[in-house]
Symmetry: C2
Subunit: 211 residues, 2 copies
DNA sequence: ACCTAAACATACCATTTGGTCAAATCATTT
DNA sequence: AAATGATTTGACCAAATGGTATGTTTAGGT
């Protein structure tokens, strides 16, 4: 890859990163092209050399998120036991939520507006969810876990893990975590794991005893 | 109250209702005063006769929500047993979320942006949450429920109940509920109750047997 | 050195933005 | 009916909006 190509890729990445930040904060209509340009360190005209319209960039950002999540998440049909799969899912999901809160917020924002843009990519998500549903139903049929509503079980795990990205400000305030310091991830992960393991009638590993 | 006064109250209510709708959909910066005026059935100039600035109206909407929620929600220290308190909280919260999704979305949006406006009213919320924490800790001390992280337990209940307002579009798609029909509330409520009752080590009432 | 195409900058466009203002209308009270 | 205050209107403002057009610079290959 020539240095010119490398530079172009870098700029495109900067645009995408900035766009996710800005769109997550102010939504589609609340984000100006000027703000997008600034966030990427470009001129407005320069930005328009790389993108066509604001809406296009917005859709690209969403597509990027969906693609990324499809690779990272969704309960996969591993050979593992249910407890391990659930624990791992929750852990990974919460880490991601706290590492990239803007990504989660942008997604939430779009769905909250009715997901008019996102709905185009919902087929992929539905497929992944259906696969996970099949896995969970298998667990239930095999008597490995207490019966659950597979779909709602997934949605509730999603809700809880996502929450700490979307409500980070509130969590900070209620937990008394100052602005600079990170949230207590282990504490959050443990409580979430405990909740959904117990929901499945699975035993909870007693890490260290709680204070 | 004279008819003139009555009319004024009606207009103010229309403005507030419209504002919650619009702000919930497009955020503060994404909502134009024109849109706010249209939503209330007024002229832009007429709107400015009743409000001073967009920001003021936004803050008023948030204040209204906080005040409303303070009356309706938060685990109250009733004489009831834990199971009844938790079940009732979840049921009321989910009904409210599905009845007034815009309210939940506006709140979520504001918190997602860092809650810069809302933070002024967080004292009240914190008080209510602390009171509930004390109640839950009492349950634990009395051996009435399995030990939980009281704060995170509340946040997770909030996350799940809130979810069906914020992600209504996604829930519709995954549950296969067409646009016109309402979501299956009983199903959602039951799964949520089961999850958080089991988290507390409490028995689940076996309503009707599940299909 | 030279040519071509990619990358960038300045100035610009019509429209929309949040908000104001004086004048006109309405309702109410005397 | 006249006076008075509350309400409504349309015109208006400077600034910001999304996006373009036209030129200028830069980089890479020959």
């Amino acid at each position: 890859m020539s240095s010119a190509q490398k530079r172009r890729v870098q700029i495109r990445q900067a645009i995408l990163d900035g766009a996710i930040r800005e769109f997550a904060r102010n939504g589609l209509s609340g984000t100006s092209t000027q703000a997008l340009a600034d966030a990427a360190g470009l001129t407005k005209a320069q930005l328009h050399y790389y993108i066509t319209t604001k809406e296009d960039l917005y859709e690209e950002a969403l597509r990027f998120i969906v693609e990324e999540w499809r690779h990272i998440f969704f309960v996969s049909a591993g050979p593992d036991d249910p407890a391990a799969v659930i624990s791992s899912y929750i852990e990974r999901k919460i880490h991601h939520a706290l590492d990239y809160p803007e990504v989660s917020r942008l997604f939430a924002n779009e769905v909250g507006r009715g997901a008019t843009v996102l709905s185009r990519y919902w087929g992929e998500l539905k497929t992944a969810v259906d696969a996970a549903t099949a896995v969970i139903e298998g667990w239930i049929a095999a008597g490995q876990i207490r019966p659950v509503d597979p779909l709602l079980f997934q949605m509730n795990m999603w809700a809880v893990t996502q929450h700490y990205a979307e409500y980070e400000a509130q969590a900070r305030h209620l937990l008394g975590t100052p602005q600079g310091l990170p949230l207590d991830r282990d504490r959050i992960i443990r409580e979430a794991q405990e909740t959904f393991l117990l929901r499945c009638g699975l035993p909870v590993p007693n890490h260290c005893t709680r204070g």
